[in-house]
Symmetry: C2
Subunit: 441 residues, 2 copies
């Protein structure tokens, strides 16, 4: 009875939302039919829980200011847990990025470190990107991590272990090797999948040599060129890339460089009070905004597209307990959200979802604490743009260690067709269903 | 332009929600007109951020299970910050409970430790409970803390310092004393305000003697009886209380007892793995569920009511880093949410809001960490009802200290008239406006 009641309400909310969307479509856009192709754009802030969002807002816009990601009208929370490899009925309350991404990419829970495969029996799980391709839609992504790391990998490949990023890094995925009639490493599969746009770091894995098949002995990068990709290796090449070919951009050996810098969190009295240094990214690396803009330009077509934009290094710099670097990545991610929302304004038939894959270590703690009650791990005090002090503590491991993910539910926000799928409390696997509905079933 | 666009969308969402609400009203309830009086029920889980909600869900219902509070259809996040006493243009990124409650009770930001008064100039701020009284509505609350502590105080009194709970505890509120022609302590003001139902702990402050005015020399409790309150001092007296008088229930000297028990979090190897012991509350103390039910029964009337139900000790046991006690309080709070939702099912003209006043210290961290990467503060490993291990770490202060609040945005969920005021990202002060709109104002 309760479930029925809830579903009835949800249906009514959905109806309301469809009305809004129809009104939006009718009221805007260059397409006189009021429709245009159906697009899905998923924006993932890696490790960007509510705490991380609040830090970035406080520092950049002020506590009473608003981020671009704050403006999406449909909002909720989702549960991020993964499951145990040897007993998938049991939850693992703190997920990693690959299991969480597999959850929303495929609609199936899996165990940590898996990529697009099921726990235990290692079955390939169809991804929303593959479904979009089957429908004739274009697909692509932009990320600040290596393009073969967990989040992008989960949409574009199927292996048992996230570390199997290139053909010479297959120690934990022996059966997936091309020389064993497998689909190959993540990088190989990404090329073979024919994804239209792939932008980020991770050149190292594309410089490894393929061990079997028609491309045997070539690097993955050489094979990509042969299979129709134009390759860009810096920001200039990205700007100059040909528009009539698929696009592969690899702008750094592994992850891309930080947008901002500052002192890492420290034990004892902490670091700071400090202001963050902005604009630290090397000019030869494109920004996430530039990559997101290129992705949308390249993917726009009359059959619609699926795009993924990830602020991957929010997670990276939370692991290393550097609040300025972490916030800088969240700010750049939010600027990319703004680019996407501007696009959606003129293309209202676009589902936009902004969310995270899991929470992270950083907490905003009081600044007025006595010396004997300072956080036991590491912390830093920042002076925000509105001139107030904000203390960020990282305490999931002792000073010097890599900070851990947390198991909290995280925020999810959406606009456009089927946006109301994110209202209330959902699970990461429900996001797959929402996106699937948006691309037409 | 962006703001306008957002407002247009919000208006459309609101219109959709009103349609849903109208449909709900039309489809249910014993009132053939489909309306009934307008009620507002606010449920506050003190310190119940997304991390705390997830802990309780994981332990009690399982990671894939759902709490009663998860079922509300309109959801968002709100910012909890307070402001500086001597420069209210500056934020204090980590609020205490009194400033946050003053924010949603009055619609105005204030500084930590203030109760229903403005920062710096100490003006009284009108509360939603007072507005409801002006409209002829009944008012009341139930809490597991002392009834004169921060959250309830902010709705029912105006003093400069939260500690001024009784007439003999006015050292930091000298100008507020009755002997100085002030309104008196929080307890005195609560009686003078004529709140219809007040249930919780905090008897100590009601046993203090009034220092001036017509009740001079009497205890606050004696004055309450004289001013028309029936007083209940244990669960039996609560059941037997007269229904024709206002009701004051004081079931413990200060805060009420914990529902569950278990080992506190510990440093080093942590405590546990452990199961929590349930049903630990002394029988002479009523549960929050019993108090919430009584509150609704007593307040129901044909002019509507405002009710506050608080799970206050979620915060208490997070401060003391006891995960079983903390989760037990969150579970009992969720049971009270269920009571309220059942009420609203038959009284659809009721706005129900479930939220928190601030985040707290506890984090769900991985259980598989190596010994050299265990949390630096205190932690405990629980074995949840679904048989999995969940590790809760508290690391805002060194082992043995009282844990701190955090500054994260927190979840807010609602149903009923004007529920869509909570969608997206709002501020704690916006909740006042949502409730005010719901009571017609």
């Amino acid at each position: 009875m309760r479930r029925l009641g809830k579903r009835t309400l949800a249906a009514a909310v959905l109806a309301g939302s469809l009305a809004i969307w129809a009104a939006t479509v009718a009221a805007s856009g260059p397409d006189p039919s009021g429709r245009g192709p159906r697009n899905v754009i998923l924006l993932i802030g890696d490790g960007m829980g509510d705490s991380e969002i609040t830090m970035a807002r406080n520092y950049w816009k002020g506590a009473g200011g608003r981020l671009a990601m704050d403006s999406l009208p449909s909002t909720g929370a989702y549960t991020t847990y993964s499951v145990e490899e040897f007993d998938p009925s049991k939850p693992d309350y703190v997920t990693d990025s690959s299991a969480s991404a597999t959850g929303f990419a495929t609609g199936h829970k899996t165990s940590d470190k898996r990529i697009g495969t099921s726990p235990g029996d290692d079955d390939d799980l169809k991804t929303i990107l593959e479904l979009a391709q089957e429908r004739g839609m274009k697909t692509g992504f932009a990320t600040t991590s290596g393009i073969s790391t967990a989040t992008e990998a989960a949409f574009t490949s199927h292996v048992r272990f996230r570390g199997c990023m290139g053909p010479e890094s297959m120690q934990q995925c022996l059966i997936d090797r091309k020389s064993h009639d497998g689909p190959g490493s993540i990088a190989e599969q990404q090329v073979d999948h024919g994804v239209d746009v792939m932008l980020g770091g991770g050149r190292t894995y594309f410089e490894q040599r393929i061990d079997a098949g028609p491309d045997r002995g070539q690097t993955v990068l050489e094979a990509a060129r042969r299979h129709g990709f134009d390759v860009a290796l810096d920001a200039n090449e990205l700007r100059a890339a040909r528009r009539d070919r698929k696009l592969l951009g690899l702008f750094s050996p592994v992850g891309m460089s930080a947008e901002w810098s500052g002192d890492p969190a420290k034990p004892g009295q902490g670091s700071g009070p400090q202001r963050c240094e902005e604009n630290r990214r090397p000019e030869d690396q494109p920004s996430l905004v530039a990559m997101a803009r290129t992705t949308l330009e390249r993917l726009e077509n009359d059959k619609g597209f699926f795009a993924l934009v990830e602020g991957a290094n929010i997670d990276t710099y939370s692991h290393s307990a550097n609040p300025c670097q972490e916030i800088g990545e969240a700010v750049e991610f939010d600027r990319a959200v703004r680019v996407v929302l501007d696009y959606a304004k003129n293309h209202p038939n676009t589902l936009v979802v902004v969310t995270a894959d899991h929470g992270h270590a950083g907490q905003i703690v009081p600044v007025d604490a006595e010396t004997d009650s300072l956080p036991p791990g590491v912390f830093s005090t920042l002076v925000t743009n509105e001139g107030a002090r904000m203390r960020i503590a990282y305490d999931t491991v002792p000073a010097g260690g890599l900070q851990k993910h947390t198991g909290t539910q995280v925020r999810i926000a959406a606009q456009g067709p089927h946006a109301d799928g994110v209202l209330g409390v959902t699970d990461q696997t429900d996001l797959f269903g929402t996106m699937k509905a948006a691309i037409g079933g």
